[in-house]
């Protein structure tokens, strides 16, 4: 039986890439206000699980039950997935987070632009608001992408290695914003490698290894990943 504040449930979820089974029997509940770190070695299936949750991959068996509407699901890909030559400014990227409410046709009004300005100010982006994405540093670009997510008022947020190639100051800003989003009721799933960031940020950890998932808390995974306590 799901808790009333559960936003996402995985039930015996098995996922494959082509003919190769990558994940088997993954279970889990993701509640509002929690931050879950998704960890595992390269090729363990972290990105596959994220794809499955986002509906990009059809489950081989089991199911993904997401109570968050599409419009409030946000996906922050690795920066390399973006076309950085695209002629778009920081402000335009942040404002595109209005998609759930404005779609393809509705014009952005003063209220949205004021919100956009507030988001950029919070992320320290105001000095770069008219700068093309291709001219930003990795950290500035990651702040802009998170700005789009804030505009989207996401309830379920998936982030794929958001701190990779990002400066320390940006890591601090991003951690603060993510903790604030969780405090306001968002469920956040974040692919992480850094143990220190995991300890600071995550409430729970889903460790993927050899196609199976093990749940634990940050303190326990730091001590002994292999004997991590199963919570789900």
């Amino acid at each position: 039986m799901d808790e009333p504040n559960t936003l996402l449930t995985l039930e015996s979820l098995s996922l494959a890439q082509g003919n190769r089974m990558v994940l088997e029997g993954i279970d889990g509940h993701f509640e509002a206000g929690t931050i879950t770190a998704l960890v595992g070695a390269n090729g363990a299936g972290k990105s596959t699980l994220v794809q499955g949750i986002m509906g990009e991959l059809r489950p081989v068996s089991g199911r993904v039950d997401c109570r968050v509407p599409n419009a409030r699901r946000a996906w922050l890909p690795q920066q390399l997935a973006l076309d950085l030559t695209f002629p778009m400014s920081v402000e335009e990227l942040v404002m595109s987070g209005c998609w759930p409410t404005h779609g393809s046709f509705k014009r952005y009004g003063p209220t949205e632009y004021r919100r956009g300005q507030a988001v950029m100010q919070r992320l320290g982006l105001q000095a770069f608001e008219h700068r093309p994405l291709g001219e930003l540093s990795g950290g500035q670009r990651q702040r802009a992408l998170l700005g789009r997510t804030l505009m989207q008022e996401a309830q379920l947020l998936l982030l794929d290695e958001p701190f990779a190639n990002v400066d320390a100051a940006t890591v601090e800003v991003l951690i603060e914003v993510l903790q604030d989003m969780a405090a306001k009721g968002a469920a956040i799933i974040i692919v992480l490698h850094d143990h220190d960031q995991m300890t600071r940020l995550a409430d729970r950890i889903l460790h993927l290894e050899r196609g199976h998932g093990t749940w634990s808390t940050p303190a326990r995974v730091g001590g002994s990943p292999s004997t991590a306590e199963t919570l789900a």
Binding site: N70, R73, W75, T85, P87, S104
Partner: protein, 294 residues
Amino acid sequence: MIDWLFSPLIDFGFMRRALVAGLALSLVAPPLGVFLTLRGMSLVGDAMAHAVLPGVAVGFLLAGFSLPAMSFGGLIAGLLVAGLAGSVSRLTGHREDSAIASFYLISLAAGVMLISMRGSSVDLTHVLFGSILAVDSTALWLIVSVSSLTLIVLAAIFRILVVECLDPLFLRGQGIRGGAVHGLFLGLMVLNLTAGFQTLGTLMAVGLMMLPATAARFWSKRLEGLMGLAIAIGMISSVGGLLLSYHAGLPSGPCIILLAGIIYLFSALFGRYHSVFARWRRRVQPMLPPDAHG
């Protein structure tokens, strides 16, 4: 000078029709070209221009030099090639551009074969290279209608196209499948290529789409700037090429595309961004001494 510019347009109806056709095509083809370059599909436009040929040939064989029949045939052939290439790409996992390249070559060969079997080399030349000076009222209505429709659809899907170009996953996350947007965009491209083949020919219609778009990238880093500049370059090329063709007694299609080509070369040499001159000018500046930062 004024007489050189305006007298052909005042004196001759065919020049006025050619001018309107050129301007209408220049209003919509370059923005499509901008999106093609941004989506990394510059050569797909060229491939699709070849792909419409068998449809045009079938239209020609069934109804002679009837622009509506040839355009309709071209449209069907273009959409068929785009659809088949997309299907093969999805079913086999191969990249879509390689599937389009394969299908356009089959399509091109089929088109040339069809025209050769029933027409003459003059017919083939007309289809391949067009004749803007032979645009009649029916052709003009068709071109203007296609341009108007393209403008409306492009405005309607503009934001989706922009978001999809930058980050397709974001759009999919919102429950919108990029395939439909992509298909609609390819449809618009094929529609414009078929509208443009009467004036510029199937082989050169894509020139008015791509050259202004690629030239504009040397002058602007903003999407609105790229669109506006590409349209302006397309219009200058159309009007200039038309007048040059009239006064020098040269074929109009190549004049228009060559003029666009000259603008592209000038932009690549002297444009504001990433041109040869801009790269040469961007020398490394020495750092200021610490106390100069204030």
